[in-house]
């Protein structure tokens, strides 16, 4: 439903002209690359990084234009650039076995290595190399058709003017299709492959695993220290006191009694410490009642007026629940300590598989998320479950923190949506009837035909006139094969598409 078809065509033609011209102009770039490659063979490798940079600039432009004009979003996926080189303790910079005075050479080396090892660099290069042909043909050919169709009658044969108009119209009509194809092709080469998406996901998971392992180790160290200095030490003291009581019992019962009272006190202090420790590891209310009530208990213990609303149908898994609980606890502590707030609203809700928690306070705002280590800690905690924290604290308030934990809630349905019914019909039709055209009516008939028996039985093709027999046999074989491959491929494509859809949001977030 386009309201202005003519205008639309003009715009499309303009875009085709621009894209085509750029594609042709790419030959200049290719020439430059050829020169720099030549230089490289001679030994002047300095030209390599700027060349790659130039190519990346060009592909970035192509990605942007493809997204804006051709409606096909093409995200980039390069490996992350190497970290800056740090000097050693003696002030020198090291690269492999060499030491350098300035960071320039190691830096250059790292960058060059980064560019060479990134497969995206080579895909970019390939795209650029082929672009003048593909882009030139796809974008400029229809324009040439229009021009040729319009010019032909005037210059050569006025009598074919109608034919010329037809050619021109065909060119105009074909432009959007060819441009779409061009966009598809660009996407094919420049968009991140599943492999690179997975690679970046793996990279991130690696990082997250490292962080999780680190914080877990730190947590264990803290618990060990607390037990060692707290409960354990007190139990030793109680044991010693009881030993002394044993000795004093007969000689000085009054002193023994006093010591017993003291050891009872020590045991109750030890219990208090253990209780606090347990609360820090896994709060008992959380274990007993789940996230909602645990947060309500937290709210009751807070000096602020905290309103908690919970809308959860299923209970998240224990580790996720614990991460959410401690994140909320940290946010609440922040609100008490820094914001000067009087009221806090905590909202816990589940939408699909995502657990979302919003913590809002009416404080003064202006909190800087980069400064506090608390928010960093929350992010680390959540990252282990692919969770993210969005923090918004404008000066003057209010401060809002939103935690999203995808896949936190297990929904009872299977995670792959069912195939639509028409697909099931095709699949069962394929498996059920595919044999009929393929074997008796196709392959067996073919064998009979080759052998040349007079027997016709129920092999339909043999009843037809001679010239039509072979086409029908081939058609039957192809039909059987098509039915089987449809039956086989449809469920496969369905589940794969769904898997990719699941993978995509998580991975695209990694590319920031």
């Amino acid at each position: 439903m386009r309201r202005l078809p003519l205008r639309q065509h003009v715009v499309t033609a303009g875009r085709a002209l621009a894209l085509g011209t750029m594609a042709v102009a790419d030959t200049v770039l290719i020439a430059l690359i050829a020169v720099s490659t030549l230089f490289m063979f001679v030994g002047v490798i300095v030209a390599f990084p700027p060349t790659v940079k130039l190519v990346r600039w060009r592909t970035k432009l192509a990605r942007r234009l493809t997204g804006r004009w051709l409606g096909a979003e093409v995200p980039a996926s390069y490996l992350p650039p190497p970290p800056p080189v740090r000097p050693q303790a003696d002030g020198w910079y090291r690269h492999e076995r060499q030491l350098y005075k300035t960071p320039w050479w190691p830096e250059w080396n790292n960058r060059a290595k980064w560019m060479i090892t990134d497969p995206a660099t080579w895909r970019d290069g390939f795209w650029l190399l082929v672009n003048p042909f593909v882009g030139g043909i796809l974008a400029l050919l229809p324009l040439a058709m229009v021009g040729y169709g319009l010019a032909m009658p005037w210059y050569w044969m006025p009598q074919v003017a109608p034919l010329g108009l037809v050619v021109a119209a065909a060119g105009l009509a074909a432009t959007p299709w060819l441009l779409r194809f061009y966009g598809w092709w660009t996407r094919l080469l420049l968009a991140p492959t599943t492999r690179s998406l997975l690679a970046s996901k793996v990279r991130r998971l690696d990082q997250v695993r490292q962080d999780t392992a680190d914080s877990q180790a730190a947590e264990l160290r803290r618990i060990e220290r607390d037990l060692h200095d707290g409960a354990q030490a007190r139990l030793v003291a109680i044991g010693m006191t009881l030993g002394a009581v044993e000795e004093l019992m007969e000689k000085d019962p009054a002193a023994a009694r006093a010591l017993l009272a003291k050891s009872r006190e020590a045991s109750s202090t030890a219990l208090t410490e253990l209780r606090d420790l347990v609360r820090g590891i896994h709060p008992p209310v959380l274990a007993e009642r789940g996230l909602g009530d645990a947060v309500r208990a937290l709210a009751l213990d807070s000096p602020l007026k905290v309103t908690v609303t919970v809308d959860l149908k299923t209970r998240p898994e224990a580790p996720v629940e614990s991460a959410a609980y401690f994140s909320i606890s940290e946010l609440l502590t922040n609100a008490v300590r820094h914001s000067g707030a009087e009221r806090v609203w905590i909202d816990i809700s589940g939408r699909g598989k995502t657990l979302r928690v919003t913590v809002t306070d009416d404080g003064s705002g202006g909190a800087d998320p980069s400064r506090g280590s608390g928010l960093r800690g929350i992010e680390r905690r959540l990252a282990a479950f692919d969770g993210v924290l969005a923090f918004n604290s404008p000066p003057g308030g209010p401060t809002t923190a939103t935690l999203d934990l995808p896949y936190a809630l297990v929904t009872p349905e299977s995670d792959t949506p069912r195939m639509p019914r028409w697909k099931w019909v095709i699949v069962s039709f394929g498996w059920g009837l595919g044999w009929l055209p393929l074997f008796p009516q196709g392959l067996v008939t073919m064998v009979l035909k080759l052998v040349g028996t007079p027997e016709r039985s129920w092999f339909l093709a043999l009843y037809l006139p001679e010239p039509l027999q072979w086409p029908l046999i081939v058609f039957n074989i192809l039909l059987g094969l098509t039915l089987y491959s449809l039956a086989f491929a449809l469920p496969l494509v369905h589940s794969q598409k769904h898997r990719m859809a699941q993978l995509a949001p998580g991975s695209l977030r990694l590319d920031e």
């Binding site: 009872r264 609360r279 008992p284 009530d293 009751l300 213990d301 000096p303 007026k305």
Partner: protein, 219 residues
């Protein structure tokens, strides 16, 4: 006649200790059970004078004991229950107090160490009073500290309020704080005026009023 008591505790040593302790203090232990369903049956069938219940019990090891106690109290209103736990939560205290019929206790397990005070608490609950752990009251007061009328209390009045909220009588408070009973009476009157509560001589109703006030102040 000695008061009849039901004990629910899953750790054998502690259960045994409680049985001995209460028997030594003149209670008749009619049932000592170790799981939630057993407890519910014992409570509704035996109808004890008081029950001592651990919050965390098999089979789920969550708040099985508390749920059984609450269910039994719904079936038998005012059934005296003293709940023991390794940790105390305001949330659970509120749930126990919610029906407003009293005869509830909520103590840390550590309080069993002090046999006299513990038995006193059991007796108090059995006779329809309350026994709230000092830690619950401390939390309750800490989280309400910013609210207006509570800030107006003198330190002494606060001390009295805390003990009162635990469920102690004027006599017990005067012993605790080394005051004369009439001085305690004066303080409680002061507290009730400042908090705008109707004064009452009945210990139990007084405690409920204070707890209700503190709960309400939490908003």
């Amino acid at each position: 006649m000695s008061p009849r008591v039901v004990i629910a505790e899953d750790l054998y040593l502690l259960r045994d200790g409680l049985v001995h302790l209460l028997q030594a203090h003149g209670f008749e232990v009619v049932a000592a059970v170790e799981s939630g369903p057993e407890l519910l049956t014992a409570l509704t069938v035996q109808r004890p004078d008081v029950a001592v219940v651990d919050v965390r019990l098999p089979p789920t090891f969550t708040d099985e004991g508390l749920q059984a106690a609450l269910a039994a109290r719904r079936a038998v209103p005012g059934l005296p229950v003293l709940v023991l736990s390794q940790h105390v939560e305001q949330l659970y205290a509120r749930e126990l107090l919610a029906d407003g019929s009293g005869a509830v206790g909520y103590l840390l397990k550590d309080r069993v160490f002090n046999a006299e005070q513990f038995v006193d608490a059991v007796r108090r609950v059995a006779s329809g009073g309350t026994a709230m752990d000092p830690e619950v009251i401390a939390k309750l007061l800490a989280s309400t500290a910013r609210h207006e009328p509570l800030g107006a209390l003198t330190p002494r009045e606060r001390e009295v309020l805390e003990l009162m909220a635990e469920g102690r009588s004027n006599a017990a408070i005067s012993q605790r704080l080394f005051l004369s009973e009439s001085a305690v009476g004066k303080h409680t009157a002061g507290i009730f005026t400042k908090l705008d509560l109707a004064p009452s001589d009945d210990d139990n109703r007084r405690v409920m009023a204070v707890l209700a006030y503190l709960n309400a102040a939490r908003g």
